[in-house]
């Protein structure tokens, strides 16, 4: 009798833990789908806002004026807030940065602006002012020149557009102040306009490729491949993306380096002084992925089972800690002094910048702990 009860109890606990295990497995699959949906929607939003930007660039080049320049700048700023969130999907060789990935063409940084156009003290520098070597400005040319002979030789993407709209930031209390007349009667004005149109269209084309890779309507696309991966591999990729973004790219490369060098050239969007928004967008991207929520540009919300839910089922305390650290990140990134090139110089602002760095490092470290709890080893630059 006792033995039978014992046997049945064992059977019951085995089946309960199998059921609980099933539960976690289900949550994992659902979370992976939520991730794919978020990636798709945010890339679609990036494409939409980049299309609007491109239209504004066309309008500007067709009729350069203060107004059309401001409209183009505004469209650029809007597009950046969306794209920044998608950087959470980098670092695992997905469509954005596999061997043929367009990341370097879309968002390469830092940029040696003299590679593209004139700079203070070098009126003839850049591809634009070199009709002898580059008589025709085409997408193929700029693609081949992008990062040619040096990682800072950036010719395409958001920051090339940024430089072409704002120009060098030569003042301490404002952004770049390129005159719209650079596109009317300045030297090589026509080439400058052509360049802007080419990189604008290229950006749209590159983003279209990402949308195609992740669309739910695709049949053999990356989304299909991603959803067919073993759950652990997909989760490993997901966590790698946000871990590396939080810890290495954002905290280390984008914030700390500028903080340490105290050099305006090191800030991410150094021409437009928009770096504080870049930082926020990146952080929101990380939070989106962990919490399984994305606020689309049309006001709708994409959400579903989240990584957080998976972690909650395995270790509620760990989930609570992770959410707390992300909340701190959210607070700190929103408190960074504006503009960022002053934040890295003024003493009080600097202190808060360093706090932000540490908040991101803590969050990144915790993501590794989360991965570990899920039985995964994240295979990149994150220390144990």
């Amino acid at each position: 009798m006792i033995k039978r009860t014992f046997f049945l109890l064992i059977l019951l606990s085995i089946s309960l833990s199998v059921a609980a295990q099933d539960d976690v497995e289900t949550l994992k699959s659902e979370a992976i789908v939520t991730y794919a949906d978020i990636v798709y929607t945010s890339y679609a939003d990036s494409l939409e806002t980049a299309t609007t930007l491109n239209e504004a660039l066309v309008a500007f080049v067709e009729a350069p004026s203060e107004e059309t320049l401001d409209a183009a700048k505004e469209a650029w700023l809007v597009a950046r807030d969306v794209y920044g969130q998608t950087e959470a999907y980098r670092f695992y060789g997905g469509p954005i940065d596999d061997e043929d990935g367009p990341e370097g063409q879309i968002n390469a940084w830092p940029m040696d602006e003299s590679y593209v156009d004139y700079v203070g003290g070098a009126a003839d520098s850049g591809i634009i002012n070199n009709p002898e070597d580059y008589p025709e400005i085409t997408a193929d040319l700029l693609i081949s020149l992008n990062e040619e002979g040096g990682e800072e030789n950036v010719a395409t993407g958001y920051h090339a557009i940024e430089f072409l709209l704002w120009g060098q930031d030569l003042s301490a209390d404002g952004a770049g102040e390129r005159a719209y007349t650079d596109y009317t009667d300045a030297d090589n004005a026509a080439r400058r306009g052509e360049y802007l149109l080419v990189v604008g269209q290229l950006l749209v084309d590159d983003l279209q490729g990402l949308v195609d890779a992740w669309t739910p309507d695709g049949e053999d696309n990356y989304r299909a491949e991603f959803l067919a991966l073993p759950a652990d591999e997909a989760l490993s990729n997901i966590l790698t993306g946000i871990g590396v973004l939080a810890k290495s790219e954002l905290a280390g490369e984008r914030i700390f380096t500028a903080y340490d060098n105290q050099d305006q050239e090191d800030e991410h969007s150094c021409f437009s002084d928009n770096t504080h928004n870049d930082i926020i967008a990146n952080a929101v991207g990380v939070i989106n992925v962990y919490t399984g929520t994305y606020n689309a540009v049309d006001g709708t919300v994409v959400s579903g089972t989240a990584i957080a839910d998976v972690v909650e089922a395995i270790d509620p305390d760990l989930n609570a800690t992770m959410l707390d650290l992300l909340a701190i990140v959210e607070t700190e990134v929103n408190a960074v002094y504006v503009p960022f090139d002053q934040a890295i110089i003024l003493p009080d602002a600097r202190e808060q910048v360093f706090t932000t760095v540490n908040a991101l490092l803590d969050a990144g470290d915790e993501i590794v702990v989360v991965a570990d709890a899920l039985g995964l080893t994240i295979d990149t630059a994150l220390p144990e």
């Binding site: 800072e152 490369e253 700390f256 990149t380």
Partner: protein
């Protein structure tokens, strides 16, 4: 049911015990056979290894760094990547380029921290430079004396309104041959000339040596290998009669003002990463440091001497230290396909035909003075860091400290299978003459001749396995 319950445990125990014993015994047998041959171990950098076979494989920091180092790594990275500009410039932190140089940034030649390549069609700055010297030596340091007009290195790029020193032209002569099994091969022997000399003639007895930019991974680990370990690999008189006579290079340490063991560079002519980095800043980019505070301008090059500098030094001590940290802490990617039977077979062949005599497979690092993560690691760099005579075919005929004109340092093989992914090319050896790994093997002469001959005598299948093994590193 209850009757069954009483019986099952008894039988189960003896059955389980039998199964258990079988498992334990076979486990012992399996691990013994692994130990006898080679342990498949993909952790080429020990605990500092990372798993990454993407184009960013060489750019990852070593795991386990202290937080301060983690952060400073990124600053070092920014200095490694950034384009230097001519002085004076509004961007004062990075001016002082040139006046003559080979690249505007470290990353220009060591793109994505990887391997440079020889130029094609007159391109510059792709990652190959030419060292220059005359046969005389400095009395105190033992360094080669520079060419009087062109210095110790040909700089093929210059600032606006200043003439670059010259241009490198490479012509290739084909060398064809056949394996004993009839398979044909083709090698290309480079012939170097310098054109567009802007500052007079080169010395009549000038010696030239082409060098491609090396990959930057695992360098801190190599720096942490104890001197005694490197010296233990040496056998200058081939006392053990195996045909291998590796010897250390002893080189001038600029800061210590002393002669010390060299271990970095194609001929092991640099003692440590600080001096290597400072020398590269000075010679390749024209940036001065406290280690090399004088601009790289031969006396005849007035424009170079008179060009504005970007401060003294052009990169300050702290920032140079961050670059040193950066180049010390780039992680080695794990071996791929380490349990693939072909790769395992290839590794056995690597040992059998004697490659491992110079490309030493495994060693321990000691205590690193400042970066604990690099200490006491079991690493697989596939190098003894010693000089070996590689025969006439590969010779640059330009001695460097103790290294003769036919000697080269055994290069580390970790990472060689990723050049295609990281750098988009598969050019190997000191001047990138080998178009793939197979050609690199075929160039081995001198002390390497016996292994090369053994390779040629392998079956096509075995040759493929060996190459597959190299490709996995």
């Amino acid at each position: 049911m209850q009757h069954l319950m009483r019986q099952i445990p008894h039988r189960a125990i003896s059955l389980l015990a039998t199964i258990g014993i079988i498992f334990v015994v076979s486990g012992i047998v399996i691990s013994l056979s692994w130990a006898q041959d080679t342990e498949p171990n993909p952790l080429l950098g020990g605990q500092t290894t990372i798993y990454n076979d993407t184009p960013n494989a060489f750019g990852q920091p070593v795991p386990g760094l202290e937080r301060e180092h983690e952060l400073l790594f990124f600053v070092g990275n920014s200095f490694f990547n950034q384009n230097w500009v001519s002085a004076p410039a509004s961007t004062t932190a990075r001016d002082g380029l040139g006046a003559t140089y080979n690249s505007r940034s470290c990353a220009g030649c060591h793109f994505k921290d990887g391997r440079g390549q020889p130029p094609v069609d007159g391109a510059v700055g792709t990652g190959l430079l030419i060292r220059l010297s005359i046969p005389e030596r400095d009395q105190i340091t033992g360094e080669n004396l520079p060419d009087p007009n062109y210095g110790g290195q040909l700089q093929d790029i210059a600032l606006q309104n200043i003439a670059p020193e010259g241009q490198v032209v490479i012509e290739y002569e084909e060398i064809t041959g056949e394996y004993p099994d009839g398979t044909a091969y083709s090698l290309r022997q480079p012939v170097y000339s310098i054109t567009d000399l802007a500052y007079g003639d080169l010395a009549d007895d000038v010696m030239m040596s082409p060098r491609v930019a090396n990959q930057i991974i695992g360098l801190g680990l190599l720096e942490a290998v104890p001197e005694a370990t490197i010296l233990s690999f040496a056998d200058p008189d081939d006392a053990d009669g195996d045909g291998i006579s590796g010897r250390p290079n002893y080189v001038w340490d600029v800061l210590a003002e002393n002669t010390v063991l060299g271990r970095f560079g194609w001929k092991a002519n640099q003692p440590d990463l600080l001096q290597q980095s400072a020398a590269a800043f000075n010679g390749d980019i024209g940036i001065t440091t406290y280690v090399f505070p004088v601009e790289n301008c031969p006396t005849i090059q007035i424009d170079c001497l008179e060009a504005q500098n970007g401060g003294s030094p052009e990169i300050d001590d702290d920032d140079l230290a961050k670059v040193e940290l950066y180049v010390s802490t780039l992680s080695v990617p794990a071996q791929r396909d380490y349990d693939d039977p072909q790769v395992i077979a290839g590794e056995l062949l690597f040992e059998e035909i004697g490659c491992a005599a110079c490309h030493i497979m495994e060693m321990q690092t000691g205590e690193h003075p400042t970066i604990p993560a690099l200490s006491n690691q079991t690493i697989r760099p596939f190098t003894d860091l010693l000089l070996h005579d590689m025969g006439e075919g590969l010779a640059d005929n330009r001695p460097d400290f103790e290294a003769t004109g036919t000697e080269w340092r055994t290069p580390p093989l970790w990472g060689i299978g990723l050049f295609g992914t990281v750098n988009g090319h598969t050019y190997y050896l000191h001047d990138g003459r080998a178009c793939n790994l197979e050609e690199a093997i075929l160039w081995h002469g001198g002390e390497g001749q016996a292994s090369r001959d053994a390779f040629m005598n392998l079956s096509a299948e075995d040759r493929a396995a060996l190459v597959a093994f190299l490709q996995s590193l």
